[in-house]
Structures are given as structure tokens and as C-alpha cells.
């Protein structure tokens, strides 16, 4: 109980600090890209090795002073100044670095989430940068006057929007004596689809329809006329229709293998919500694989029927954003 009170007080203190000194706290609000690092948000502290090294320097200094050995003192002063001035180089490693784009690929919950962060630098190359997100740490260099792409693999345990959270960009360049770091909190979230049910039953097709589908075979029927694209084969051009209009038109055929499948949330009895969403996601996946048109019926909306990457994404997105997922 006491600990809880202390924790509350601590978080309240942090909130207060954030309100009063936004630059000093790392509890910064998410900000829109591009994020450019400058002196207002770069912090420096000596590393543990830096502390040890300064201790050694102090011993050397004392020894040189004690034995009245001027050459030793001169070299100690030079080494000390060199190591101290490395703090500026360390600062320059992060200064004016820009995070200008983040790309994520949607994934299913439980699968690794791939994130690509695009950094941009000025004329100087940046060495030995270290990016940490959650427990994932990755080291990379950036070439001069160029862009660098850093690929991260994060875990995505829950469906819904997965916020990237705070990224810690740090470096101990050039000598490992000082660590400079900065917190990046890009306003970016990745969509995480529901988990795919591993052992899902097959698509809910009527047996009769399935037979009909095989009987029809690959029968094609004309779906629509559209404008000619340079890669279309000549035999698909609808010459008569083209003559009526001024442009070349192409006959587009659609392969139909049967009636639409309806994937109905409400029809899945005896399962909790997450299990239902999991199964529906798997069915979407199966329907796409079998090239069967499908419609998705959810308590709050109905999608389709349709087929193709866009439809699939729309369905999975609707599934992912069902209430009860990640905020």
C-alpha cells in the first residue's frame, strides 16, 4: 500500500516535471516526423569507462606533480584535454541528425513487426550510433551526406495499433568516454492484425457450392471494360467498343469460382471475441489463397464482398481495430 502511494507520488512528480521542464524530461509527447536532433535535446554524461579513465588520469597527474616530472605532466595534460574534448565530437555525432521517415509493414499479432527507420545526415558521416527500442538494440553507421535505413524487428503481442514508443538514440563515439543520447518519440504507430488461428477449420463453403465451383472450372465471364495499358495482350482489346470511344478499351475477365463466402463474426458461436477474430483472420487468409470472393460481417460493419490485397487489408484492419485490442 505504502509502495503504491510512493509510486503515485513519483509519477505525479514526473508529470509535474514534464509540465514545467519539457526539455529536461524524457516524457515528451509524441511528435511528428521529421525529428531533427539539436542541442536542446541531446544529453551527455561520462560512461563508466569515462569515470575509470578520469581516475587513471588523476593518478597520473598526481604522480607527475609529485615527482615534479614536467614531460609526464605535459603528456597527461594533453591526454586529459584530448579525452575531455571528445565530448564535443560525441555531441557532433548526434547533432543535426534527422529521423525523417518510418515505414512499418503490417503483421499479425505474435509475429515479428518489421520497422524501417530512415535517418538523414549532413556532410559528416556518423559512426557508432546505437538505437534502442524497448529491449531491442541495434548499432549502425550513417554515411556522409546520405540516408541510412535502420531495420528493427519488434515484437507485437497484441492486435490493434502498436505505438513505436520512445526510441533512445545514443553513441559513445569517438573514444567511449562519454555517452550522448537523445529520446525520439515519433508519432507513428504500426497496425497489428489479429493473431492467425493456427488450426482453423476450412472456409465455411456450402458443399453444393463447392461442387458447382469445380464443375464450372475456369469459366470466365466478362466483368468490365477498362482503358488500355501498354502491357495488355492484344487479344483482350475490345475493338468494337474501342471504335465507339476514342481510346482503346480492354475486356477484363473475372474468374468466378462460386458464390461469395460470408465470414460472419456473429455466426461463430461458442468462441470468445479474440478467438473469433483469430479465426476470421485466418479465413481471410485462406480465402485470398483460394481466390474466393469473401465478405466480412462484423458487429459494427460489413465489408465486401471482394478479393485482392486492398480488400484483404481493409478486412484485417477492421478486425484489428475491433474493440478490446491495443489502445
Amino acid at each position: 500500500m505504502n509502495r503504491l502511494a510512493a509510486a503515485t507520488r513519483w509519477s505525479r512528480l514526473l508529470e509535474f516535471a514534464e509540465r514545467r521542464l519539457p526539455a529536461l524530461t524524457r516524457l515528451k509527447r509524441a511528435e511528428s516526423l521529421p525529428i531533427r536532433l539539436d542541442r536542446h535535446r541531446i544529453y551527455v554524461l561520462p560512461t563508466r569507462f569515462g569515470a575509470l579513465f578520469s581516475l587513471v588520469l588523476a593518478v597520473m597527474l598526481l604522480g607527475a606533480l609529485n615527482y615534479n616530472n614536467n614531460p609526464a605532466l605535459l603528456l597527461t595534460c594533453l591526454l586529459g584535454a584530448a579525452s575531455y574534448q571528445s565530448v564535443f565530437q560525441a555531441f557532433r555525432t548526434l547533432n543535426r541528425l534527422e529521423l525523417h521517415a518510418i515505414r512499418t509493414e503490417p503483421c499479425h499479432a505474435g509475429e515479428p513487426l518489421r520497422v524501417a527507420l530512415h535517418f538523414r545526415t549532413d556532410a559528416r558521416p556518423r559512426r557508432s550510433l546505437c538505437l534502442r527500442v524497448d529491449a531491442v538494440e541495434i548499432r549502425f553507421d550513417l554515411p556522409a551526406a546520405g540516408e541510412g535505413c535502420v531495420h528493427l524487428t519488434l515484437d507485437a503481442p497484441q492486435r490493434g495499433w502498436r505505438r513505436l514508443g520512445r526510441l533512445r538514440l545514443s553513441s559513445t563515439y569517438p573514444f567511449g568516454l562519454f555517452e550522448v543520447w537523445s529520446w525520439l518519440h515519433p508519432d507513428v504507430a504500426a497496425l497489428v492484425y489479429p493473431r492467425l488461428e493456427p488450426q482453423a477449420p476450412p472456409l465455411p463453403l456450402d458443399p453444393a457450392e463447392a461442387q458447382w465451383q469445380t464443375a464450372r472450372g475456369s469459366g470466365d465471364e466478362l466483368a468490365v471494360l477498362r482503358e488500355y495499358r501498354p502491357t495488355d495482350p492484344l487479344r483482350t482489346i475490345a475493338w468494337k467498343a474501342s471504335a465507339r470511344h476514342d481510346t482503346l478499351l480492354v475486356k477484363e475477365f473475372e474468374r468466378r469460382r462460386g458464390r461469395d463466402v460470408v465470414l460472419d463474426f456473429g455466426a461463430l458461436h461458442g468462441l470468445d471475441r479474440e478467438a473469433r477474430l483469430s479465426r476470421l483472420a485466418r479465413w481471410v487468409f485462406l480465402a485470398e489463397a483460394a481466390q474466393v470472393r469473401y465478405a466480412l460481417v462484423l458487429p459494427d460493419q460489413r465489408l465486401g464482398p471482394g478479393l485482392g490485397a486492398e480488400h484483404r487489408h481493409a478486412c484485417l484492419r477492421a478486425l484489428a481495430l475491433q474493440p478490446g485490442g491495443a489502445p
Binding site: M60, Y67, N68, A72, L75, C77, L78, R127, P174
Partner: protein, 659 residues
């Protein structure tokens, strides 16, 4: 990250750092330590090439115990400058043996820096310091390699980058480092015991046994440097007086203890002008100070003995500089103290009967002192040879030399001559020191090397006092004219060729500057640094304040360099527009990142309808930027000036131009 195994390049640089740190010590250590430590470093480097694993513990643990035991066995204890440095080297080598991770490498390199610096406690010449400077940049390069694992680059490119970064870091550190060096207050007295253990400094001793000077005569290290106030006296007058030896035990000459005490000053009568000069004495760990014959007074912290030799109160452990005045024409001790007379005539009984007989015959036949001296010098001149390769002498060393070998150098001649004089009843003593020197024209100073060591005699003559007699000059005048080695002729080795010697002597100028500027920069000179600014004797606090102010200035400069405004993207027009937007933002009307100038103008017009100048500027920008292919320079400049002249007030609603 800290426990990541090292790449081979990282390990190689770490091992190189450790090696350069140990190397200066290794050349100095007894083989008992040098060999195992060297083998350990080499063996470990070879082993790491084949297997990325530390040397196993069963091998390391005995070594960890063995080294301290060996040190205690050899030196008697673990502490002190000499055993401490051995221990540090051994521990550093052992650290390398277990270095596998980045963390180990960090520790090893930091410790290597310490070991490297401690090498300067043993030799602080310019050459060593420059080598150490190079070694420091190697250390920094190794640290950098630990930060930037060079796997993506070819090893040589990576190495060059690292070395360049290390050298650059040291170069950039020069201003701050120099300021710290000059103004860091020196300790008035050492915090812990100053070094007492004898080091391998060569120099004159208070004893002259056969062969002692021979070691010196082949040693080319500098003994001291001299700068004369006026033109230097002729070379054959440059007798640098060191310890005066009175006591002869049959084989060696030495100095009785009590002659260290000083005596009345009026024994020395001078004639002619005194010569003023300044001597910078290399550390010898002995108490002798050198002076040109005859010093008029002792420098601070030293006393002048009755025999006119100068003795410092403390051993000369560091470079020592002192000023002296000497009289080349003098009369010393015209009435001889009875005690001195007894010492100056004493001979060990039972040695060298033939020399005694010869001296007795001279006394009987010639009678007068001057004639006896002439006879002895004539004997040397006619029958003797000067060589550095003198044959060994037996028990009756003077007899052997005078009647058998007849070959030798200053030591033999001075010893035999003094013996003959005493045997003939003339008070005499041996003086050791240096003779001559090399004049460096560029730096206008004389350098006297150990190889200029010399020994001569002084005899006491009634009415004239002590008179210098150099029997070596009688045998080989070149010794006094040219120097010991030139006189010996035959013993020159290939690296002692004349032109090389000359080059070295000329190059000594750099050493002198180094000594002047760095080694000799003591607390006294530091205190007088601020004299031009009206502070005669700067206190530690004042020095510290200056140190703080100057280093803050340097750091502020570096800071400015780091955070100085970057050149904005785009051209002058964009820069001016950015300034305008910044002014608007300060007035409470920030441009949205996605907002174009016309939309901004509309917003501005809605909020501040009476702000005509602002409207005009935004319109001008739109025209210049979008309505013409290449805006004219004059138009852009006019726009920039107008932006600069624009004054906006923060007060809401009322924004008007001022001025």
C-alpha cells in the same frame, strides 16, 4: 555490448597499445623480468590469432602469483619506483592475456596509459616524450576502434582512420593541454616520498678507480650545458671542476668525508675579470655540481668545499640550473693549511717502490719543485701513449703504469703524476671533472658530454698556491684541444663518425629548447608567469583562476564550433524568408510546416489588417520565388534588408513597424 567479444582488429590495436606501453620499460628492466613479460605479450598475440579465447586460468593464476614473488625476490619489496613499474608492466601483460571483451580492452588501455606515463619517470628526454606522444595517439586509436568495429571496412582503411582520429584528437587538445600544463599549480613539496632508489645515471663519482672514467669516456649522453654571458674563454681553459680526490689507497683515489665542509673565503685571490655563466646540469643522482675553475661562490642550496669543489645539499635528481661566476686567473691558498699539507702528502705505505725511488732521485738531483714537475711532464711526453684501451695494471698500479705499460688516459696520468709529486714531497691532489665541450653556434651554448670527463692534478707551490697541472696534455695535447675520443683516434666506431657527432651536437639544440621550455618549467618560473600583468609572485589560487578562465575560453570556443549555426538549406531568398517566419513566430504567429506563403499571408491579413509592410513582404516573396525563374540579386538583397528592418511586437492585435 560490454561483453561483446573483440574483433581481431580490435584485439590487435589493444595489444599494440599494451606493447608500446611496456616497451620503454622492457628496454630498461633486468632480463629476469623483461624476458617473461615480453614472451607473455608476444605469445598472447600469437595465440589470439588462432583462437578467440583467453589464456586459460591454470596458466594465468600461477603467473599472477609468480611475478610479485619474483619482484620481492629481486628488489626486496613491491613498492617504490623500480619494483612498482615492473609490477605494473607484469600486470598489464597479464591483463592482455585475459582480454576478450570490450570491457577488458577498455581497462587494459586505460592501464596502458598509466604504464606509458610512468616510463617518463625514468627518462624524460625529448625523444622519449615524442615517442610517448605517438604512443598516446595509438592508445586513442585503439579506443576508437573499440567504438567503431571496422568489420565493414578494409582493415588498413580502418587502421588509417583510427590513427588519424587519434592524432587529430591529440592535436586538437594542444591548446587546452598547454594551458593546463602552464597554469596547473605545482606541488610545493611532494605528497609522498620522492624517489630515492638509484637509477642508472652515469656521472662522476667521488672515487676514481682504474676503469671508472673509461665507462664515462664512451658515454655520449650530455652531462651539462653552459651558456656564457660573454664570449667563452679559449677551449684549453675550459676545465670543469668536479670532485677533488685526496686519498690514495694504492689502487683508487677517493675523497675523505670531512672535506664537504666549507672554509674561510679569503683563501682565493683572483686576478682579471670574472666570467659569468649558467649551467644546466643533467640529473646525476649525485651531489656534485660542476664549475669552471675557480668558482667565486657556491649557488643556492650548495656549499663550496675548502678544495673549491661544489657540493649540493641534495642529490641532483632533476635537471638543475644554476648561475656561477668564476675567475680563470687566481691564487688559491697561498699559505697551506697544515692539515691539508698532511693529506696532500700522504701515500699508502708498501706500494709502488720504483715510483718512490724515481721521485726521491728527482728530489735529490733537481731539488726545486718546478724542475721536478718539468721532469715528470717531460717523462710523460717522451715515453707515453694516450689510448682509451689501456692495459690492465697489477697491484703496484703506478709502478706498472710508469715502467711497464706506459699506455693510458687521463686517469692514469693524473694518478701517476700526483703519486710522483707526493713521493717527491710536493703537496698534490687529483681533480676530476670535465674538460672542453662542444660549442653549438645556433643556440650559442656549450654542451659537455660524459665523454668529456677528465682528471688532472693540482700541486701546491710555495708563493703560488695550488696550481693546475694537466699531465695528459703533456702526452697528448689533442686531448685538451680536440677531446678524448679524437685524441684516442683508434677507438672510434662506425656510429661515432665525425660528421655524425657534429650532427648530434647540432641537434642537441632541440634538446636544449625542450629542457628550457618543459623540463625546467618549475614552480619558481610558474610564479613569475604573471609578472607582465602586475602579479609578481602568483599564488596557487591566482594560477588556478587563470587556468579556469583560459580553459573556459578555449572550451567556449570549442562549444561555438560545435553548435554554430548551420548554413541554412536553400538560397539567400529562402534564408530571408526563414528569418521572416521566425519573426512571425516570435510575434505569436508561427507558420505551420505545411503552410505556403499565400495562406500565411491570408492569415496575417485576417489577424493584423493594418500591417501593410508585412503583407507587402509576403507578396514580394511570392513574386520572387514563384513568379520569376531567377530572382535578381538586388531584389533578393532588398527583400532581405526589408525583413531585417521589420519590427514586430508581441502584443496581441497591435503590431506595428518601429523605425
Amino acid at each position: 555490448m560490454r561483453t561483446t567479444p573483440l574483433t581481431s582488429a580490435q584485439f590487435a590495436l589493444t595489444a599494440a597499445s599494451v606493447s608500446v606501453a611496456i616497451l620503454p620499460h622492457l628496454l630498461r628492466l633486468p632480463w629476469l623480468f623483461a624476458v617473461p613479460i615480453g614472451l607473455l605479450v608476444i605469445g598472447r598475440s600469437v595465440q589470439r590469432r588462432y583462437r578467440a579465447a583467453p589464456i586459460p586460468g591454470w596458466l594465468r593464476l600461477p603467473l599472477i602469483l609468480l611475478f610479485p614473488a619474483l619482484i620481492v625476490f629481486h628488489y626486496g619489496n613491491l613498492f617504490g619506483r623500480e619494483p612498482g613499474s615492473v609490477l605494473a608492466c607484469a600486470m598489464l601483460a597479464l591483463k592482455l592475456a585475459e582480454t576478450e571483451t570490450r570491457r577488458d580492452a577498455h581497462a587494459a588501455i586505460a592501464f596502458a596509459g598509466f604504464v606509458l606515463m610512468s616510463a617518463l619517470l625514468f627518462a624524460d628526454s625529448l625523444g622519449v616524450s615524442l615517442l610517448l606522444l605517438a604512443a598516446l595517439s595509438l592508445l586513442l586509436a585503439a579506443l576508437r576502434e573499440l567504438e567503431v568495429p571496422g568489420t565493414s571496412r578494409p582493415p588498413l582503411v580502418a587502421l588509417r582512420e583510427d590513427l588519424r582520429a587519434g592524432a587529430f584528437a591529440l592535436f586538437a587538445a594542444v591548446p587546452l593541454g598547454l594551458i593546463a600544463f602552464v597554469f596547473l599549480p605545482r606541488l610545493g613539496s611532494p605528497l609522498w616520498g620522492a624517489p630515492t632508489d638509484a637509477t642508472a645515471h652515469t656521472g662522476l663519482g667521488d672515487r676514481m678507480a682504474p676503469g671508472t672514467l673509461q665507462e664515462l669516456l664512451i658515454d655520449d649522453s650530455p652531462a651539462f650545458r653552459v651558456r656564457f654571458d660573454d664570449p667563452a674563454p679559449p677551449r684549453n681553459d675550459l676545465y670543469w671542476r668536479g670532485p677533488v680526490l685526496w686519498y690514495f689507497d694504492g689502487s683508487a683515489w677517493s675523497r675523505p668525508e670531512f672535506f664537504g665542509s666549507s672554509r674561510a673565503e679569503d683563501e682565493l685571490r683572483t686576478a682579471g675579470r670574472a666570467i659569468g655563466y649558467e649551467i644546466t646540469l643533467e640529473p646525476s643522482d649525485r651531489r656534485w655540481l660542476l664549475a669552471l675553475d675557480m668558482p667565486l661562490a657556491a649557488p643556492d642550496n650548495a656549499v663550496r668545499g675548502a678544495d673549491m669543489s661544489l657540493v649540493s645539499r641534495t642529490p641532483v635528481a632533476n635537471l638543475l640550473r644554476y648561475r656561477l661566476r668564476s675567475a680563470p686567473r687566481y691564487q688559491l691558498e697561498t699559505t697551506l693549511d697544515p692539515v691539508h699539507r698532511r693529506f696532500a702528502l700522504e701515500l699508502p705505505p708498501g706500494f709502488d717502490p720504483r715510483a718512490r725511488a724515481l721521485a726521491a732521485r728527482w728530489r735529490r738531483d733537481l731539488g726545486n719543485d718546478e724542475a721536478i714537475i718539468r721532469a715528470a711532464l717531460a717523462l710523460f711526453h717522451d715515453r707515453f701513449f694516450y689510448t682509451l684501451n689501456a692495459p690492465l695494471l697489477g697491484r703496484d698500479s703506478v709502478d706498472d703504469f710508469l715502467f711497464e705499460t706506459r699506455r693510458g688516459f687521463c686517469e692514469h696520468f693524473a694518478s701517476a703524476f700526483t703519486f710522483l709529486m707526493r713521493a717527491a714531497g710536493i703537496p698534490a691532489r687529483v681533480v676530476t671533472g670535465y674538460q672542453g665541450g662542444y660549442y653549438n653556434e645556433v643556440g650559442d651554448y656549450w654542451i659537455v658530454r660524459q665523454s668529456d670527463a677528465h682528471a688532472w692534478s693540482e700541486v701546491w707551490l710555495a708563493g703560488r698556491g695550488w696550481v693546475r697541472v694537466d699531465p695528459t696534455a703533456a702526452v697528448s695535447p689533442q686531448r685538451v684541444e680536440l677531446g678524448a675520443r679524437a685524441a684516442a683516434g683508434d677507438s672510434a666506431r662506425w656510429y661515432q663518425a665525425d660528421w655524425l657527432q657534429t650532427l648530434r651536437n647540432e641537434f642537441d639544440l632541440v634538446n636544449r629548447y625542450w629542457n628550457d621550455a618543459v623540463v625546467q618549467f618549475n614552480a619558481l618560473r610558474q610564479r613569475s608567469l604573471l609578472t607582465p600583468f602586475g602579479i609578481d609572485k602568483a599564488e596557487d589560487s591566482e594560477l588556478f583562476a587563470v587556468l579556469m578562465v583560459l580553459s573556459s575560453l578555449v572550451l567556449a570556443l570549442a562549444l561555438w564550433w560545435v553548435i554554430r549555426a548551420e548554413r541554412p538549406d536553400g538560397d539567400a531568398l529562402d534564408a530571408a524568408y526563414a528569418r521572416l517566419c521566425a519573426k512571425l513566430a516570435r510575434a505569436g504567429m508561427a507558420r505551420d510546416p505545411a503552410e505556403g506563403p499565400r495562406r500565411l499571408a491570408a492569415r496575417v491579413a485576417a489577424r493584423w489588417p493594418d500591417q501593410r509592410e508585412l503583407q507587402r513582404l509576403l507578396a514580394v516573396y511570392v513574386r520572387l520565388r514563384y513568379a520569376c525563374a531567377l530572382p535578381s540579386t538586388t531584389a533578393v538583397r532588398a527583400f532581405a534588408r526589408a525583413v531585417a528592418a521589420l519590427r514586430l511586437r508581441r502584443s496581441p492585435g497591435v503590431v506595428r513597424p518601429i523605425g
